[in-house]
């Protein structure tokens, strides 16, 4: 180990959502004196508004900190933040791969949750030293001793020394910092060897192009080097190296054991893929770092401009988002109902929601999203296989031999009182229980195999709703499995609206059809004529509702003093119409598209 490495600590913070990860990160940054307290925005690392609002970290930020430890030495801390959601597991694993240790926060009032475990397993896969920390000990409901035991029993790591902290109140932060110094191993690697650097994140900067976050495992990299991405085989000349503290600070070189950024005039984040290995073109390393995976979209949906003429703006916005998000895919598509739009692929539902919200907030664009779909493996009569993620493209049943759908392994953690109701909703969603274990006396983990299309539909909402927010879920793709799924269409006033078509399991079709028809009946305003709403499979009608014709839309009195007021009323009415989509003769409010997907508690 080189002597400079002795004082480097590369670590992440891992936690279940809401257990206080970002708050602790803030405190660490504050306590190492990097940012004056008055400059602290709450939750420093979550720098997108959206993240701050939802309290989740979507995009990573990595920061170099200097800490003067009690042993009198000054240490360099590289705090590598990880995204806190199940959709981003791969990114989490790559961030963890850049570290030697992980601070594991457990909420002292809630204990170990599904994501706590999922994250711990990811960290163990990377052979990280895990430092448990009990947070929120200031709360009256904190049960530190019990939770300590829980950590030891469930995770199997020593927690007797785990610092008791309150990130919110700033209690015990020093203990965490000392713990990091003592227990996170310093990095190793040969600065004089062949360059081997891991890309664990990247973002797009308007001036510098893609900024790669990298951990150097071997060798060194500096401005002017020609680097090569080992998996994509693309070559670039390095224009700048440096680290974030928290703003970018250029430096002369990055060497083995260090964490920093590399700029090389790269145009798109997809050219600097997370997990890829950077080496020097002239003197390359023989072997790439393990663990590289091309991210795969699991969930697809159509995104259409709410106003047709905004097509180009939506396209621009999607392009901008894609530049920064390698996991997000899109391509143009057309719907007879919605016109020109885009088929988009996401890691999961949350990822999809985030993209849609960013379109609306950051780009001020109204969009309509169609029912999310998974990718079906369609085996044709002639033995050929088609991967179908858009219900509209499903070939005719006559040509299909069978369809396979993706199955995920779902780990659900819940308080024991809810076992009955959660098993019920899993069963309703065609889940197969693998096994169930009591994690503690009061908490249960259910292991299920479940079709992904059920999970993305409303499972998460149902789980949260049935467990009053205490249930947590973690899932990962398991395999494709033969399944009797069918395409269900919706007809409005006898016209098929392709944007509402969805692929559902045969056994669920009737219930889903009824639900969609009822929802649309609530949402579609009365027209001058009756509007029949029908759900059908092929030619067969499986559910029907009718929106009655309206009878009265007239202002009785309109005299001198009423004209301006009535005009405003008419303007409002017209404005409301603009937010409607015209499908044949029927006007449908845009919220109809999301409403048919919402979990309904009363159902």
């Amino acid at each position: 180990m080189d002597s400079y490495q002795k004082y480097i600590r590369n670590f992440s913070i891992i936690a279940h959502i809401d257990h206080g990860k970002s708050t602790l990160a803030d405190r660490i940054i504050e306590n190492t004196g990097l940012v004056a307290k008055r400059d602290m925005k709450e939750q420093f690392l979550d720098n997108m508004d959206l993240e701050r609002e939802r309290g989740i970290t979507i995009k990573l930020q990595t920061t170099r900190l200097a800490y003067k430890a009690k042993d009198g030495n000054e240490y360099i801390f590289n705090l590598i933040d990880t995204p806190g959601h199940v959709d981003f597991n791969y990114e989490v694993s790559r961030s963890l791969a850049a570290c030697e240790g992980a601070v594991l926060i457990v909420d002292a009032t809630q204990g170990v949750e599904a994501q706590t475990l999922a994250n711990v397993y990811l960290a163990l896969d990377e052979n990280l030293e895990i430092l448990p920390v009990l947070n929120k000990i200031d709360l009256p409901s904190a049960r530190p001793e019990e939770i300590r035991e829980e950590i030891e029993d469930i995770i199997g790591i020593e927690a007797g020394e785990a610092p008791l902290i309150s990130a919110k109140e700033g209690i015990g932060i020093e203990d965490v910092l000392e713990d990091i110094v003592k227990n996170v191993p310093p990095p190793s690697g040969d600065a004089e060897g062949k360059l081997k650097a891991l890309i664990f994140d990247s973002y797009y900067d308007n001036y510098k192009g893609v900024v790669i976050y990298s951990r150097i495992f071997n060798g060194k990299v500096k401005k002017g080097d020609i680097i090569r991405m080992m998996n994509t085989n693309k070559k670039y000349e390095v224009t700048e190296v440096g680290y974030h503290s928290p703003g970018p600070v250029p430096c002369s070189e990055l060497k083995a054991g260090e964490v920093g950024y590399i700029c090389a005039s790269i145009k798109q984040v997809r050219d600097a893929r997370v997990g890829d290995t950077i080496t020097l073109d002239e003197n390359p390393t023989e072997e790439a770092l393990p663990g590289y995976k091309k991210v795969q979209s699991m969930v697809y949906c159509g995104i259409y401009p709410a106003e047709g003429e905004k097509y180009e703006s939506v396209k621009d916005a999607l392009e901008k988002l894609q530049v920064n998000d390698a996991a997000f895919l899109f391509e143009p598509e057309t719907s007879t109902a919605l016109g020109f739009g885009f088929r988009c692929g996401f890691l999961g539902l949350l990822h999809m929601e985030i993209i849609v919200e960013r379109l609306e907030r950051e780009f001020d664009l109204g969009v309509i999203t169609t029912s999310p779909s998974v990718i079906y493996r369609v085996v044709m009569n002639d033995g050929s296989v088609q991967m179908i993620q858009n219900p509209t493209n499903l070939p005719s049943p006559m040509e299909i031999d069978h369809i396979e759908e993706p199955i995920v392994k779902a780990d659900i953690m819940i308080p024991k009182d809810y076992v009955g109701s959660i098993m019920e909703i899993c069963q309703e969603r065609r889940g197969k229980m693998i096994h169930m274990e009591y994690i503690t006396e009061t908490r249960v983990q259910l292991h299920y195999e479940m079709p992904l299309n059920e999970v993305i539909y409303d499972f998460f909402d149902a789980l949260k709703s049935k467990t009053r927010g205490y249930g947590s879920l973690d899932y990962e793709f398991a395999r494709y499995e033969k399944s009797s799924v069918v395409k269900m269409d919706i007809l409005l006033n006898k016209d098929l609206v392709d944007a509402f078509s969805m692929i559902v399991h045969e056994s669920k079709a009737y219930a889903r059809g009824r639900f969609v028809c009822e929802k649309l009946k609530e949402i579609i305003p009365m027209h001058q004529f009756e509007v029949p709403i029908q759900a059908c499979i092929g030619q067969k009608i499986i559910a029907r509702e009718t929106v009655k014709a309206y009878r009265k839309d007239v202002i009785a009195k309109c005299y001198g003093g009423d004209i301006s007021r009535k005009k405003k009323l008419l303007e409002k009415q017209k404005e409301g119409k603009k937010r409607m989509r015209q499908f044949g003769t029927v006007e449908v409010p845009q919220e109809a598209f999301t409403a048919v997907l919402k979990y309904d508690d009363n159902k």
Binding site: K552, C558, L570, K574
Partner: protein, 433 residues
């Protein structure tokens, strides 16, 4: 000297008490404890239900404070008329006057005379000008009506609303059906040859039978004019609050429309012409003043909260009666000093909107469609210098669709709603705003 026609609307914002559905700018001057207590009440509010309309035609005696308010208000109105007379008398003559409210008949009849004298003094009043006053049953006496006649009033619009005492009580009206009929006969014997009755349907608890009875009783009186309104729920009314709480048993939209079309059937059978969504008259007795509102003709609104469409602007006066009075009678007000100004001092600058040509075209169309004869497209081109079809090119496919469904009729000369189209008129009118 040009000869533009001008309508004058004069607002009297006082009532015996405010009705349960009313959101107009009016103050109940006899209702105790309704925030207007300073005006007091001697015989008023308790007996207001049903037994109003005592022998002297006044449902309550007014306090000194109320009487003083009437006096000051009248002076303010006269000042405002004076102001606009100086501004516009040269280029306009007044061919309609409409004294509305509130209930204008609650203030002393002499004050009405004064207001009309001021009007005649400040403006040129055309021969045969239509001069209407609104009144409510139970606020009229022979003397009062004689004073009205003498001051030139030739049309009366009476808010009867219903001939069913139960419904009148629900509405919070001060009169009963017997009083309404008596008041009508008083009007006739005083010599009024042009009387309108306001009727209301879709009242909570209303059914078709009750409505038919009211229609029968109304037409039996042979008024020259009938207005028939579907009850509209307005915010800040007792009805609205009740509705919010789910305590209002309103007829369905289906029944509402049946009642509406029943009224049209009956009035046509009786020889009346249905000329606007909610108005009908015997031939030759359409309300010329109200027609201005639906023809983009100019009118000046005088009085608290009154709205104007004048010289290309829409504007309105301060709504609060006290503030209105102060702005026109305060020390700083002098007609001379103000003579430079274009708007009377009771108008606040933020309440003035200069109409664009688009505004004008849109208002011409959407208000014009209220008339059963619709709008004359030749007049449209003449007024705006562009053809209707060019301006609203984008709406034509939609209009054709409506026409196919028999909701409107559109040819090169005329655009009008059909009777079926009236029921959903808002969605058609909204195309033009």
């Amino acid at each position: 000297m040009t000869t533009n026609k001008l309508g004058l609307y004069i607002h009297i914002p006082f009532c015996i008490r405010k009705c349960n559905y009313c959101a107009f700018n009016s103050v109940g001057v006899c209702a105790a404890g309704a925030g207007t207590g300073i005006y007091g009440s001697t015989a008023g509010s308790e007996s207001a239900f049903g037994q109003a309309g005592s022998a002297n035609g006044q449902a309550c005696d007014f306090t000194e404070a109320a009487l003083l308010l009437f006096r000051k208000y009248t002076d303010a109105v006269k000042n405002e008329i004076d102001f606009y007379g100086r501004l516009a008398a040269d280029s306009y003559f007044v061919d309609t006057v409409f004294i509305g409210g509130g209930t204008p008949s609650v203030i002393p009849a002499e004050y009405i005379s004064e207001i009309l004298e001021q009007t005649a003094g400040s403006f040129r009043l055309s021969d045969g000008a239509e001069i209407t006053i609104e009144c409510n049953p139970g606020t009229l006496t022979e003397t009062k009506l004689n004073t009205y006649i003498k001051s030139g009033i030739n049309r009366v619009s009476m808010g009867v609303q219903s001939f069913d005492d139960g419904l009148l009580r629900i509405l919070g009206r001060i009169h009963d059906s017997k009083t309404a009929k008596e008041s009508f006969h008083l009007l006739r014997s005083a010599g009024f040859q042009n009387i309108n009755l306001d009727l209301m349907f879709s009242i909570p608890g209303h059914d078709m039978n009750l409505w038919k009875k009211t229609l029968d009783e109304a037409f039996a009186l042979r008024p020259e004019h009938i207005s028939f309104y579907s009850l509209q729920l307005e915010e800040n009314t007792p009805f609205f609050d009740m509705f919010e709480k789910g305590e209002l048993d309103l007829p369905s939209d289906e029944l509402d429309r049946k009642m509406y079309h029943e009224a049209i059937a009956v009035l046509e059978e009786k020889g009346y012409e249905h000329y606007e969504i909610s108005n009908a008259s015997v031939p030759g007795k359409r309300c010329r003043h109200n027609l201005k509102y639906w023809s983009l003709d100019e009118y000046l609104g005088i009085g608290a909260g009154a709205h104007s469409y004048f010289a290309g602007c829409r504007f309105f006066n301060r709504e609060n009666a006290d503030e209105y009075i102060t702005s026109l009678c305060g020390e700083e007000f002098s007609p001379k000093k103000e003579s430079e100004a274009f708007f009377a001092p009771c108008v606040q600058s933020e309440d003035i909107v200069r109409n664009t040509k688009d505004d004008d075209m849109s208002e011409f169309v959407f208000t014009g469609l209220r008339k059963t004869e619709g709008i004359n497209l030749g007049e449209f081109s003449a007024r705006f210098g562009r053809s209707f079809f060019e301006v609203y090119r984008g709406c034509i496919p939609q209009l054709k669709e409506y026409e196919k469904n028999e909701l409107l009729s559109l040819n090169n000369d005329n655009f009008r709603l059909t009777r079926k189209g009236i029921d959903i008129s808002n969605s058609i009118m909204a195309l033009f705003v």
